[in-house]
Structure formats: structure tokens, C-alpha cells
Symmetry: C3
Subunit: 367 residues, 3 copies
Amino acid sequence: MHVKSWTLTDVSRNLRESSFSVSAAEVASAKGSWKISQRTLRGGLQEGVDLVEIDNGLMRILVLPTRGMGIWRAEIGEHTLGWRSPVRGPVHPMFVPITEHSGLGWLEGFDEFIVRCGLESNGAPEFDEQGRLKYPLHGRIANRPASFVDVTVDEAAGTITLRGVVEETRFHFQKLRLTATLTTAFNSTSFTISDEVENFGGTPAQMQMLYHINVGEPLLVPGSQFVAAVESIETLTAEPPAEGWETTGPAVAGSPEECYLMRLRANELGRTQVLVKNADGTAGTALEFSTNQLPCFTLWKNMVASADGYVTGIEPGTNFPKQHSTEVEAGHVVHLEPGKSWNAEYTLNWLTSVSEVSATEQVIRCL
Amino acid sequence: MHVKSWTLTDVSRNLRESSFSVSAAEVASAKGSWKISQRTLRGGLQEGVDLVEIDNGLMRILVLPTRGMGIWRAEIGEHTLGWRSPVRGPVHPMFVPITEHSGLGWLEGFDEFIVRCGLESNGAPEFDEQGRLKYPLHGRIANRPASFVDVTVDEAAGTITLRGVVEETRFHFQKLRLTATLTTAFNSTSFTISDEVENFGGTPAQMQMLYHINVGEPLLVPGSQFVAAVESIETLTAEPPAEGWETTGPAVAGSPEECYLMRLRANELGRTQVLVKNADGTAGTALEFSTNQLPCFTLWKNMVASADGYVTGIEPGTNFPKQHSTEVEAGHVVHLEPGKSWNAEYTLNWLTSVSEVSATEQVIRCL
Amino acid sequence: MHVKSWTLTDVSRNLRESSFSVSAAEVASAKGSWKISQRTLRGGLQEGVDLVEIDNGLMRILVLPTRGMGIWRAEIGEHTLGWRSPVRGPVHPMFVPITEHSGLGWLEGFDEFIVRCGLESNGAPEFDEQGRLKYPLHGRIANRPASFVDVTVDEAAGTITLRGVVEETRFHFQKLRLTATLTTAFNSTSFTISDEVENFGGTPAQMQMLYHINVGEPLLVPGSQFVAAVESIETLTAEPPAEGWETTGPAVAGSPEECYLMRLRANELGRTQVLVKNADGTAGTALEFSTNQLPCFTLWKNMVASADGYVTGIEPGTNFPKQHSTEVEAGHVVHLEPGKSWNAEYTLNWLTSVSEVSATEQVIRCL
């Protein structure tokens, strides 16, 4: 018996069970090679945020059940993958005014490495003809807490799997259930996200998903490069930077954000990769995904002062993060019949050597 | 000395006391015949919700101090009285955006058996001429937590009484205090709600109250019947169903909700009853109340797919759940001078045999 | 070694530290002369509110880290300095709908002795041309929880210092950090607030601050007097009261609130004082501050029924609590370059004898 499971949070519909939700503070291998712990943060805007830390023996992945199973950051030794937001997070959803009139309240909780945008909508705020907010920026799923969080360790296969369920439900309206699964192998520098979104209501539904994956310092520095197999590109930025859109410019206070919307080439299986590498090519973050599942890719560059959040977003999605109605017209929504699901799976690789970076770049160049 | 009281939550204005709020996890009879327990739910949208379970020896009543003393469900053995909402609740108020622009955010927390609607308003959302929300759907009281929750057991009389105080207060505006009292007898299948709403401010106030009592499966099935002594009825539904408005139709995905507004006949004491019984008349839910206290009665039928919440609401109120201004014009608001209170008392009977069902039906037919 | 520090809440950006936030329930002198305790309130609208009580040996000061380091009340023996709001607080920010359409949701959390108003704005609600809320009443800082709360006791100097950090941050928008410091001496009846607001973003910012200091019964009774060295005054009240604006009138249900905007004279160091004394001059509250730091002074009189909150606000600020655009035009905003800070320091004296009251009045009369 090599597979063991622990329930971290189990909120069942049946009260008998829900009254005895178990909180496993820590589970670890007998040999000390891997460890999974859960804790609840206290104080400030972090009050009440549950944080699960998966240590696969080499890399630590910090997951936020309270924030829709988002990934706060990844760490290897003293190194961090993520970014430094001016927002001091992770922020509990109770302090994020996502329904505020401007539709921009989401920005008060924005500091994670990987944030899901969706599920009813995921783009820019949109208002009705009276100026009332219809769709807030990036949707609501990142500010919904997960239920049924559990972790499974397969000692034989050498894998750790964390799973959580996040629902975006309003009676009379959408009934969407995200089952988010993260898997990592012992001592690896990568993890795979496998998401399912089910329409568990009785009538057809629509959904959108975009993964807002944010890379900042120290990987992102002036001269860092974005590498992708670009088939077509739309530039939303008024004046692209002198250094070219693929190159990271210097941090300049007050810089307008840049946005590039792309279609990417893929291999015969429909898989593609994108890469962000540092200036000397010694480290990088690669994302491997399916253009069938996530056909729209957005590169977001926020080359502002470090204090304001110097960061690049690599964002595969079912659509571009434009207003909902624009994406509906473009056919960029997923239709789900009752009981049907949408699925996506992608892998995040943290490249820590010149050889890994150049090998990945070679693969992308060949697409 | 047969009467004992326990304080479950005591938040006093005096800090000396509030710093030592006592949380009685469980109180029970020496003989094991009755039991009252309190717990705080953890995980997902239920995070932080206090739940009090009253076991009178036969029936368990699950009360939600955190949600305005609402009643989540009642249980006898394996049977449940309530409904299955697509919303996975009970939902903590911090996750319910009741002030959201559409006025429909309340629907994200809607899954209880008995929900209070009020106190400033309790009907459909209403907007000002600029389209800004004035009154959100069903008001705010169901998303306000109770203070001063205590339970009293009178062994001689054989009764258990739970009481909580819920305030709906905004400085410069309303100062309304609900004292909600629930009483049940040992081994009974009924309970009585006795509510007082006081205007504790210094100027006159207005209030509305509606009890949104929701019955779903298994009691509600195609062929279930609603029985009442109807004096007059207004049908808000465009096309009443072929089976007649008193009969529960089949679950049909996407069905529009039906709404029937009634005046009911009462006995010489002003009391009336309504009944929802299953198709073969072997079980039912009866509600006995005063038409003086609650003169307006609404029947709500939501005959949608089970996954979307197949449910009927039996809703006595001070008014109909129309927009606030409509009900003001109709004189359906309660005026309260400073220090004055409004009161209502009603009894919910869970009928579990053919004889009980037919006896209750007989009483109603004779009104 | 006479100086000791304890961390009450330490939420660091570094997870290693934040995972071990320490909660010191109580620290006290060996001789029992002073004591600092922290507790988290439970139940009702107070659920989850952290409260720090500083007992300097004579006076107890109750501070609310969860509400932007506001001061709930001060106590000496059985006496209380503060007021009786109809709002039963302290209210957790999750129950205060500050972004609600009317801009008045802040009033649902208003019951403290000292409330900070700011930081982006601090005045009356302001709307855009479509009627959408731009600036909510009194801003957001009072409903933001503090991080990094610590207390330092210097036995040699005989002082206790409490400090907390409260951030008002939205990605792409303001990055303002309040460091709030409260100091009191052993056995004294006064305390000093020393605030710093830093623009920690990379671009210039604007800010406003107003201290809403609220005095009610028992100090405030008919005949209580406000004393200040008034240079100029603007009366916003339609019909000033017969007893004169400096005299507290009787509690009359439904009275309109009165508002007086002043410039005060100061001494050669720029310091001034204001005083609220009771009718017979045996007790008072004096506020000593700098007109350079806080040039605008507002007196607010709310002479309503006791049940509605009979209270006077003495409110020094960087501006008057008018709409943001009005104060911008008047030049009443503080501009902060990146990394720059605004500072203010003021002292609150609780006067408990005729001699103290008359001495303070004498000082003010001589300004």
C-alpha cells in the first residue's frame, strides 16, 4: 500500500461529516524527503487565509485554498518564483471588494504567482448602459475559498497530488464547479495543474478561464526574454518599447502596462511552450500547455518601478482578457451543457541551468 | 430548580464581560434524551459559520446564529426537512455580496429551510432613478450575525428555548433589533418561532418581515399539494401550470418561477394554517400563524431541475415581496415609534403520518 | 536593560516568519502596575476583532488593530471616555459595506472614540457623473486591519508604546502605509498618537487624514462647552442652535447634525489646543496638536436622542470633511513623492479635576 490520502478540509453537505472537519497540520515522509503542511495565517489582510505548503524534497509550492486554489509562490532553497506586489498578501477575500463600482477591486488582492481568472467571465470590467458593473475585472474565482481540499502521496510513483473544489454559484444563475488538481513529483522543479470546470446546474452555462501567471524579480530583470512560437499577434499597447516586445525593459515609474494578444503554434498533439528567461539565460520559467484547451495567449508587461510591481504575466486562456461581450462576439466562451465539463492541463517548469533554458528554447524555436 | 440556562455567545457592550465570552460546546440532559450543541464550521464558504443543533429527543433543529438566526434544516432520524440548493451552504455573510449593484447577491447565500427577509425592506430589488441600488433583494437581516445567543431548558415543562439578538443598524439611519426565540418541546415534531423587532432608536422607524420557508425534496415531489384557506389570490405568473397552482409540477430545467400572492382566512383568534403535503399524503409541513401579525402570504414555486433547486416557498409576511415603494404605497409597512416593537409567533409542524396530514387538512378546509 | 518589546501580530512578507506569528495574550509588569493584553472578540458583528488593552496603571486604552488601529475607548476605573453609538461595536470590517452605492456604509461600523478617516480621501461621499461612488464617506483606513502590531515598554522612562502598520493599497493605484504609534506614560491620564503615512509606491501620491474624535455621555451633557482659539469659522448648519455653537444643547430626537469648520490660532511652535468640558467644568477632554500638521479643524455636533448617538466630534485634519474634489480645489490634499512621508502627532488629555480643566481653558484663552 504505497498510496495514502489525507483530508485537509472536508466540508460535506452532510452535517454529520462537516462537524468533524479534520485539519492535518502536517504530513511527512518517514525519511523526511517530502512534507505537506497546512496553516492559517493571522493578522492584517492575511487573517484567516489557509496556506498549504507542498515540499517535494527540492521545491516548495505554496497553495492558497482560501483564494481559489491559487499558487502564492514557489521556492527552491532561498530562491523564489513569483513577484513582489505592492499588495501585502495573500489577502483574504473578505478584504477584496470585487463587486465595487469600478470593477477594479480585484486589484486589492493581487499578489500571487498563479491566479485563476474566471469562471463566469475573466476579462476587463464591463458595465451596462447605466454604468453599473456587469462583470468585474478577472472574475470572482480567485476570491472564492475551496472546499474538500485533500492531498494524496504515491510513494511508489513518487508523486504528491493536491486537490480542491471551488464553486462559483448563484441561485437562479451560474452553477460552476472548479476541481483544481496540482501534481508534483518528488524532487522535481515542475508541477502540473489539471483543472476541471463542471456545469453542475440543470441548464446550459458559459464559462471562461485564464491563468494569470506572474513572473517578477529576480528572474525578471531588464534584458529578460519572452520566447514563444507566435503565429499571430495583436498589440494593444499604443507605443511598443524600443527594446522590442519580447525583451523586458527597465523599471520606469509610471510606465503604461503593455498587452500582447497571441495565437501560438503547437506540435502535432496541440501542445506548445512559452518561456521567460533571465538576461543571461541561466534561469527561466517555462509553461507547457495545449492550444486546444487554451487557444488564446496574452503577454502582459508591467515595467513600472519595483515598488509598484515590476512583473510580466504569461496568460494562457480560453479567451483574451477583453470585455466579456467582446469575447462572446469573438466566440471566445466555452459552452457547457448540464453535467458537462471543461478541462485543461499545463505544466510549469522552473529552469535552473543554462542547459535547461537553451533546451527549452530550442523546442520552442522548432514549433 | 428545573430551569437551566447557558450562554452560547455573549457579546456585551461592557468589555469586561465581552472578553470572556463563553462557548458551551454541548449541553445535554443527564438521561441523554435531549442535547444542544454548538460548533463553528470550517472550510469553503461555510468558514466561520456558527451552527447550533437542538436535539429535542426526536427532532434536530439546526440554527444559524451567524445568518440572522435562520434555520438551516430540521432532521428526524435520516429524514431532512429543507431543500437542496445549488448553493453549498450555510454560507458565511462575508461571502454574500448583498450590496452588489444588481441587488441579487443575496442569492449566493440562499440555502436555508427558514430565512428571514427584512428588516428595513424584504422584497424585490429596487433602484433609484440613476439605477443605483436602494433596496437589495430580501433585505439584510439574514446576513447579519446574532449576539447574545442563549439556550434555556425547562425540564419540568419539557421545553428547550433558543434565543438570539440580531441588529440591523446604521448610524443616522435604522436602529432595528430582532430578538428571535425558538421553542420546541421534548420529543416533539414541531417548533415555534417568536420574533420581536424593536425600534431602539429615538425616531420613528419602518420595518418589514417575511419568512421565506423553503420545502424541497423529498417532501416536495410532482403531485405534492399546497393547501390553504385562500380568501383572495393574485397570480404574478404569466402562464400558470396545467396541473393547477396548488399542485407541484415536475422538475423542468429552465422553468420560470411562479409566484402567488394571497390573503388567507383565519379563525376567530386570527390564526390560520397552510400545508404542503407529499403526493400520497403521508407526510407534510404545516405552518400555523396569525394573519393579524402576518397578513400577506406568498407561495413561491421554483419547479426547475433538481440540480438548480427544486423548491416551494411558503412565505407569510407583513407584506408581499414586491419592491419597497410598491408595498409602502399599499400600506404594507410596519411603523414603529421609538421603543416600540412588532411581534409575530408561528409554529412549524412536521407531519409524519396520514392521520396528522389529513387532520391538518381538515382544519384548513374548515377555516 | 529596561526596554522590552513583544510582537503581538507579525505578518511578514517572508513566509518563514509569517507562519509563526506570535500572539502574546498578556504582558505585565512584575509589580502589577501596568499590563498589556490582547484578545479576539467573538460573536455578533464583533466576531474576529482583535482588541489590545493598554493599562498604564491608571488609565486603560482600548485599541483596535482590526479597525486601522482605531481607539475604541479609554477608561479610568468605572469611567469611560468615548460615546454610546447605536451601532454595537467594535464591528469587524467584513460587516461594514464601505463600497456600497450610497457611500454611507461606513456608518455601520461607527462606534469608536477615535477613528481615522483617510487615506486616499476622508470627506463626504462623492460620485461620478453617472452617479457611481468615487469616494466613500470618510475613506477606507478605519476598516483595514493592521499588521506588525508590537508593544514596547520602557521601565526606566515609564512609557508604553504600541505600534501597528495599516496599508491602503490597490495595485495600479495608491500605495499608502500608515504607521500608527500610541504612547502613554505609566499612571498618566493622557496618550500621544504619532502617525506616519508613507507613499511606498514609485509614483507621486495624494493623501488626506482626519481624526474623528468622538465624545459622548457622560462627559457630554447639555451645557457642556467646546473651547478653542478660533481664528475663523464657517458654519455649515442651516440654523445654529439658540444656546450658541460652543454649547452642547439638549438631546432632541431627529435634530439635524451641526458642522463647524475652523482655522485655529496656535502658539509660536504651531501647537494649539481644544477642549470639551462638562457643564460644571469638573471634567474634560483636551486635544493638543499642531496646526501645521493638521490645519483644518471640524466641530461636529449630533444632538440627537441618546439612543441615536448623542455625540460631539472634535476633528483635526489635513482638510475639512467635504467632498474630495472640493478639498482638492482648496489645496487641502497632501502630495507625497515616492518614498516620502507625512507625519502628525497629537496628545489627548483626559482632565479629571476643576483645576486641570481651568488650567487648560486658560492656556487656550491665551492663544
